[in-house]
């Protein structure tokens, strides 16, 4: 593994997997990573857990940071929410997440 670089697989809404090189030394989150690879993630609110446009399902069994109250509040108001739902903007990219697999949740209008 390259230093400060991990692999994250993002499965898009057409079930196409994208294996992304993700830097861990740039204080980036998963929403920002998806946007930087031009995957269809809006990130409308800029990462403040306010819009749920970066809603993903975590499909691998990585240990993630616990969701904050803000994130839980937003997930409560979002749609298509499942047990493995998270907001991409609240998942910080770090070495322990190497191999993470997430799937983009459907877009709610």
């Amino acid at each position: 593994m390259e230093e400060n670089m991990i692999k994250i697989t993002v499965i898009d809404r057409e079930d196409l997997p994208h294996e992304l090189d993700a830097p861990t030394d740039m204080n980036m989150n998963l929403m920002e990573l998806c946007k930087s690879y031009e995957l269809p993630v809006e990130g409308t609110c800029g990462g403040m857990a306010l819009c749920a446009s970066c809603h993903v399902y975590v499909q691998s069994d990585h240990e993630l940071n616990d969701p904050t109250d803000d994130e839980l509040d937003m997930l409560d108001q979002a749609f298509f929410v499942k047990g493995n739902s998270r907001l991409g903007c609240q998942i910080k990219l770090k070495t322990a997440l190497d191999g993470l697999i997430v799937k983009l949740a459907p877009v709610a209008v």
């Binding site: 403040m48 819009c51 108001q77 298509f80």
Partner: protein, 339 residues
């Protein structure tokens, strides 16, 4: 009919960029009037993160968002801007004299030769559940807000959601409605603890029918809502008769009616020319987080710059026959140019 508000620049959005536009316009002796859907000035800074420090405002090592708004309001005070607050910009038309006429959702009419759209994330609109034919039943049994509780007297009501507004309205309408069902996706509610307890009491007393681990997935009715289809995690699908369904899933920022004004829009943002942040509609400019252009950064400080340049072109539209001379505030203070 209310009086018509007339000004030089009509600014949609009273966030930091909209507010600073008033200052730059004021230096050019242009009058401004701001419209905002929120009941107070400041946009997101006041509404969402007033106590968060911002570190990239030039000259301020750190400033609380709420304080920045207060300072901006003070800075523009000499120019006496007008405000239409708590009303959303709705319809826009071009008048014969070349000015724009903008009407808010509450019917307030504004006229100006120039519009600045400084709408940030957009206006906050109710989040609609992804149910196939939901739009067909809007105002025909489906409401996203409770406007007048009396409309629900002696009716069968279904509320969906797990936050404070779903809990509070369930408690309130339990007294008014004939039947009230509250449907929530999970068992736990994230609203205020006393509201959660009150709902549980009312459910135990049979005043609220509480259905958890379930979601509304379908709507029934012929032109008018008559029931909802509920998908329960373990018990499968069933129907509940309903005269009204009130989904309360909070607000989400949307471009809103501005999206129907004929402006070029890319991914929810208004496309502009970086010469003066003009849109494809002459006389309408878009500044701050709501615009997009190659290299765009959604920063307050960039929005300030955009506002400043847009004012230069706005002057030429308001005063086509006048020359514009550039002055430093260090030379002329806030008197700016003589017009």
């Amino acid at each position: 009919m209310k009086n018509i508000i007339e000004t030089d620049i009509l600014i949609i959005g009273a966030g930091p960029v909209g507010l600073f536009s008033v200052f730059e316009a004021g230096l050019l002796k242009l009058r401004c009037h701001l419209i905002d859907a929120l009941p107070q000035a400041g946009g997101q800074l006041t509404e969402i993160y007033p106590k968060k420090p911002i570190y990239d405002i030039p000259g301020y090592p750190s400033v609380l968002a709420g304080d920045l708004v207060q300072n901006l309001l003070k800075q523009i005070e000499p120019f006496e801007p007008g405000f239409t607050l708590g009303e959303r910009a709705d319809s826009m038309e071009k008048l014969e004299d070349g000015r724009f006429q903008l009407t808010t959702t509450d019917g307030t009419v504004h006229r100006a030769p120039v519009i600045f759209i400084a709408g940030g994330l957009g206006s906050f609109e109710p989040r609609k559940p992804p149910i196939d034919n939901i739009e067909a039943f809007e105002n025909r049994g489906i409401d996203y807000f409770v406007r007048n509780p009396e409309n629900y007297r002696d009716r069968k009501i279904v509320i969906a959601g797990g936050g404070d507004s779903a809990l509070d309205w369930s408690i309130f309408l339990a007294d008014v409605a004939k039947e009230l069902t509250l449907i929530h996706r999970r068992t736990e509610f994230r609203g205020a603890l006393d509201s959660v307890e009150k709902v549980q009491e009312l459910a135990a007393a049979g005043r609220i029918r509480l259905v958890t681990n379930a979601q509304v997935t379908g709507l029934q009715g012929n032109g008018q809502l008559s029931g909802v289809v509920v998908q329960h995690d373990t018990e499968g699908e069933f129907e509940i008769a309903a005269d009204n369904f009130i989904p309360l899933f909070g607000l989400t920022p949307k471009l809103g009616p501005i999206g129907e004004w004929g402006l070029a829009v890319d991914k929810g943002a208004v496309e502009v020319n970086t010469f003066d942040y003009s849109t494809n509609v002459p006389g309408i400019f878009a500044i701050g987080d709501i615009n997009t252009y190659p290299g765009k950064l959604k920063l307050i400080l960039c929005g300030f710059h955009e506002a400043t340049l847009a004012c230069q072109s706005a002057f030429k539209i308001v005063h086509p026959d006048k020359k514009l001379s550039f002055k430093y505030t260090t030379v002329t203070g806030i008197e700016g140019i003589a017009v």
